[in-house]
Symmetry: D2
Subunit: 242 residues, 4 copies
């Protein structure tokens, strides 16, 4: 098993530079704090919006097993050509972990085929993330719930396809629920959406949140096998028309 | 479409006779109040634990399109032979709607293959049942959530198979969440588990709760088609071994 | 139940005008033969690629409960603005039935988020469509399989998301299998992909194929309920922070 | 990752002693040949029907991470108490891999809640097992299909719950299809049903079949986490009734 996993963490990296409150929580950027929490990777890269090609060159993506995505205020600034490139890589097997406000990223909406819309409220209320599938490798080491004293609320209806596997559901102090841990297969790739991680709260320092992300990296790792054959198959495998 | 639907409502019918508080809420029994809320049935029967064969004779079951099940304190008093009979009818196409504490009924556990265990608390807290699948016919006419001022709490982990379709998720004032509207296909039959309905609260008088049950009856109605062929199929459909 | 259903059948309508063999089988167009087989609609419209806005104006779509889609050689000629319009309508509740080569239509790929690629062979081999979910309303009246003496082969891997419900799987004489009846919910809409229907074979005259399409129309009908609320929800439903 | 995995292979072990043809193919028993193909286990035990407690003592099961099950002619001879013990262990996290005719074992039927019936034919026809989910770890190293020159036919309808993940579908020379690779979560345990392996054919010597079983062991390994809390939870996590 022990696969060597190359992980690339993509972060918009705008809030941290434009908002003092965010800068206090994530002075080097959300991507650096996420990187500090990862134990299962053999190589970790970070990439941000302002880098050439947003840091997601063909070379980088072809050397990435699992891509983590955090974005919020500048989804529209991500070039369609790069989104297309990431989309193709996911369908070819690269794992993708979409965090929090990444629900509205171009890549997530393109993969889901829905609006990915939801309800939200930003008052710093309590969130309790309940495990609903205790057999899933993504919750290894996680107790029956993870409690976050302050988070942004995301509430249903969350306009996503029914997850192939629903792993976690959030309770919010203000009265809403949310499907917070959602697994999908698309093409040869696996996708995990994980809700928590508002930029003004220290969520990505939380050891249980870090554990979920680390588990998700292992779960989303590519499956080594031949690429499926598509297109014209003129020769039947069996004799036809006896 | 307009199918003629024969519905049988099964109720343990013990609490109502042994508990004044319950008798006040459901003087004629929970089954009668559920019956009063059904609009989609062409015939409604009720059956209770103390009737011969628990009211679930071959004749009754063979004339039932959808069976509704409410039980709590006397699950063990239901005879295994009757459970086996209901199980066979469901697999042959009869719809089954399991309500609230029916999660621990022999028939539901037999169909699920799991313990169907959960957490519970009986302090009369607020429940808000959120719709997570707005495309599902079971939520026709239902707004984004149903609010119940007082209910028993059921909390995750709910030990059931992942639903084929998850339609509703509950929020509880005390801090828990629960998968409250769960759809399954088993054999030729459809099963809907619907969480609310503690015996001391007037939940089954609530028009939105009644609407969900009425929708579920239509959804769970049998599909008219030949019974699948099983067993030895000696003659191949195609020539073999050229 | 008996809903009034307005059905619109969209057909590219090119093969029938450019290929004698197709014209012989479908002289008035595939859409007319599909229309002739529908019993559950209260109104049937047809629309084709060469009509203004491809016949899919706002007015038409807003008055359509279920849209049927057949396309093949001119997927790229469908304007993105119209695809976007159909996409929005599906997410708002309009049912969509995608037939055969429609797997490569812009609208299906946009809703699935995958390539929707597959293997194909056009030698007119035998197909046997097996029912794998006998409880599903889409197979009402269908026996254990539907046999088509001659069809185009579509083979796995079919690059689609795992269906919410897999209803039918095809066997092909040449040695392949295919997931032929696939149900999805997206937003408030329901989508059914149904494999058979190559333009050179009289598949849409087959009574069992017509029955499946008619069942699918009823299954995919919109669910009458309030549109979900999305976006900023500043007021918590509960008091926060005691 | 590299977990130490203790695997127990349970085989009825009757055919091999009572049928010359089977004895020729599996002289030491099917369990030994399956054992020879496993690379991912740190310890492999075998257990058979005639052993005390069928070789499935509390001690053995408590030290088993993944149990493999092959049975056919003597399902009824398996004691209910042992079935109950295995059932509890699966729900507590032990992985279970059910092979071929194990579809009719007491443990599989108990976990599925359905008849698990199917069609079968024993003429030694060709089977081609197609991969329909290329992202799944169970097909790591497997090409687009596995071809077996001679196998028993199993055909739809296979009366099982819709798999949480459908990984493989079989084509049979005689004209049928079958869902051959089916993944389920039940309680804290994972279950994989894998179709091939008739006692008169050398299927378990096939390197690709062995690879699938080895992958399934890794996939089904228990998830290390606290056991969920069930039952009465008198103390709300939040203040109630402001």
């Amino acid at each position: 098993m022990n696969k060597k996993l190359n992980v690339t963490i993509w972060n918009e990296f705008y809030h941290e530079k434009n908002n003092e409150k965010v800068a206090e929580v994530y002075p080097q950027g959300i991507h650096q704090v996420i990187a500090d929490g990862i134990e299962s990777a053999s190589k970790i890269r970070t990439a941000t919006l302002d880098m050439p090609e947003h840091g997601l060159t063909e070379e980088v993506l072809n050397d990435t097993d699992v891509l983590i995505w955090w974005g919020h205020m500048a989804h529209d600034k991500v070039e369609d050509a790069i989104v297309e490139r990431v989309h193709q890589r996911v369908l070819q097997g690269m794992g993708l972990i979409v965090l929090h406000s990444g629900h509205f990223s171009k890549i997530f909406k393109k993969l889901m085929g829905t609006t990915c819309d939801l309800q939200w409220r930003e008052v710093g209320e309590k969130e309790r993330i309940w495990v609903v599938n205790p057999a899933h490798p993504i919750v290894e080491g996680i107790d029956r719930f993870i409690e976050l004293p302050q988070e942004e609320m995301y509430g249903e209806h969350f306009d996503i396809p029914q997850p192939d596997e629903l792993v976690m559901v959030s309770w919010f102090e203000g009265g809403e629920v949310f499907r917070s841990g959602c697994c999908y297969s698309r093409g040869a790739g696996k996708i995990f959406y994980f809700r928590p991680g508002h930029e003004t709260f220290p969520t990505y320092y939380h050891p249980q949140i870090r554990k979920v992300i680390d588990n998700a990296i292992k779960w989303a790792a590519p499956v080594a096998r031949p690429t499926p054959t598509y297109g014209h198959a003129p020769e039947p495998l069996e004799k036809i028309g006896q």
